[in-house]
Structures are given as structure tokens and as C-alpha cells.
Symmetry: C2
Subunit: 150 residues, 2 copies
Amino acid sequence: MAKADTPSPEELMKLDNFLCFAIYSANHAFTRVYKPLLDELDLTYPQYLVMVALWEKDDQTVGSLGEKLFLESSTLTPMLKRLEAMGYISRVRDRADERQVRVRLTETGQALKAKASAVPLGIAGATGMEPAEIGRLKQEIATLRASLLR
Amino acid sequence: MAKADTPSPEELMKLDNFLCFAIYSANHAFTRVYKPLLDELDLTYPQYLVMVALWEKDDQTVGSLGEKLFLESSTLTPMLKRLEAMGYISRVRDRADERQVRVRLTETGQALKAKASAVPLGIAGATGMEPAEIGRLKQEIATLRASLLR
DNA sequence: CAGATTTATATCGCACACGATTTAATAGCG
DNA sequence: CGCTATTAAATCGTGTGCGATATAAATCTG
């Protein structure tokens, strides 16, 4: 029979059969591949993601960055302070609503985008996948993420 | 033309088009879904992965666990000490080679496997995917990880 | 418009995660 | 055999991440 069996409990409990572990370890692998490239920019991998979000849309609140990156203020605030200390961004309370903090790129932060432009290609190369394939896999994982967060 | 275009640099620099970000955020999403289930077992998500590795094969060295989990001793040592303090594992220097530390499940640690047996099904449900589909996606990501670490 | 409620960030404590280094033990070699 | 090189864990410093809580500002309600 070519019917897809329900996996046995033993098979289910093997680490290498865990989708979550594949993602967990692939995430670490990405961090490692990014490291040498991001060292040039003096950025950590999460800091790079914040910069990408700001390059895409400047002048965002902490909350809006958090929504896009799926991060809490308790994670972002210290990160943003480091990026500010490095001179890449500024953090200013919104005049109209003092609860909010507006995060903006500095000149240096904007200029960094050019230096970072080579990064995506380097990463794409390391995946050993075609652009179309990367896009498809990315979409599948984004859908999975949405299911998990439902 | 139905030819697959090479993505423009602008498209490449959008966060939502990053495969790495999909994986990064899906990993966080998994952590969140696991949290309430693992709270019952008094385990964090990384601790759970260590326990899964030990349930699959007991009596491993720190190094062998590190290879399977893609983690360094600097990460594992403190984690294992916590699991030991909780009474789930024991850490003993190997008599034949005192450099190595053998990690073994305690009775309590073995017994925990039964309590944890419901977890994978709960997670699988949260993915909203069929077992076969989960397996395929898992394999694709494992292949990606291998490429990245090459 | 005063007091209660909600919202936006920040702070704190804890647990990863890693690179660089240290420590201790084994293996290799003349 | 003794000395060096290698190997396995542990330690240290830094940077995420998050839950719980605190703080302060805006909003809502009577």
C-alpha cells in the first residue's frame, strides 16, 4: 500500500524528525554564515534584521518594529540602544505622543545600506538554492509561522 | 515570458523576502507554542531538545550531544548543570577518559519521557500541516542547514 | 475634568548561544 | 620516558530573547 502511515511514537520522538529542530538548527546555521559578513558592518545578526527593517521603512516606533520582527520591547530596547550608541540610529520620544519612541536612521545608518548591499547575494549563495526555490521555501515557512501564532 | 527574473536589489532587501528571517521568526513562534506544553515538564525549549536527544540515546558525552544539537560546550555545560540540578540527568566524568563527561538520564529523567509523549502531537496540530508535509518541509530545511554549514 | 483604564516603552531576572580563553587529561613523538 | 600537541569541558564576557513588572503618558468615563 502506498498509504502515508501515521508515524509511530518512537519515530515521532527522534530529534532528526522534528520540524522545530530543523528550524532551530537552521537558524543557528544562518547566524554562523552571517557572522563574517556582518562583522564588516559591526552588526550582530538580530541588529542587521533591525537595520533591514529600517532601510525598508525609516522612522518607525519601537512597537511597529516589534510587530514586524516579532520581538518584544524588552528585546528591542537594549538592542536599539546599542545601535544608537554605534551611531546608526536615533531614538526620540514622539512629540505628539510621548509614550512612543521614534527610531530613525542616522546619516551613517543610511550609508550603511550600501555597504550591506552585497550581503543578501552572499547568503543566497551559501544556501545552494535557486532564487525561486528560496522564495517558495520562505513562503512555506512564513505560512507555518502564521499557523503557529494563530 | 515565463522566465524567473532575478529579483531586484530592492526586493532582495525587504525583510519579508528573507528566508533567514522566515526561519528566525518561525523559530521564535515554535518557542512560544512549546512554552505552555513544556511548562508542565519544567523544561525550557532548548532543555527539551536535550532531553529528546537523551531519550533517543542515553549516556552521551557533552561533545556528542553538541554535535547532534549543533551546540557548543559553552552553551551545553550550563544547560546540563540546570538539568542536573532539576534531577533529570547526571553528569559524571568518564573513568577511562577523564576529559569527557558522560550525561545520563536519572530515573526521573527517564520517567519524564512518558509525560512528554503528548507534546509532539500537540505541536504537530499547531502547525496546521499534514504529517507527510511536515516531513517534507523538515527535510528541505535540514538540507538547507547542511548547505549553510558546508 | 478627576480618577480609572489602557497603551507604549523600559527595567529586571533568567536562560540561551557563541567566540575566545583556560584547564586538565590524553595522545603523539623523538 | 618526557615533552609537545591535541582534545574535551568549563569559564568568561557580550548579546539576544522573553515574561513579569514598573513607569509614564494618553484615553476613557462618569
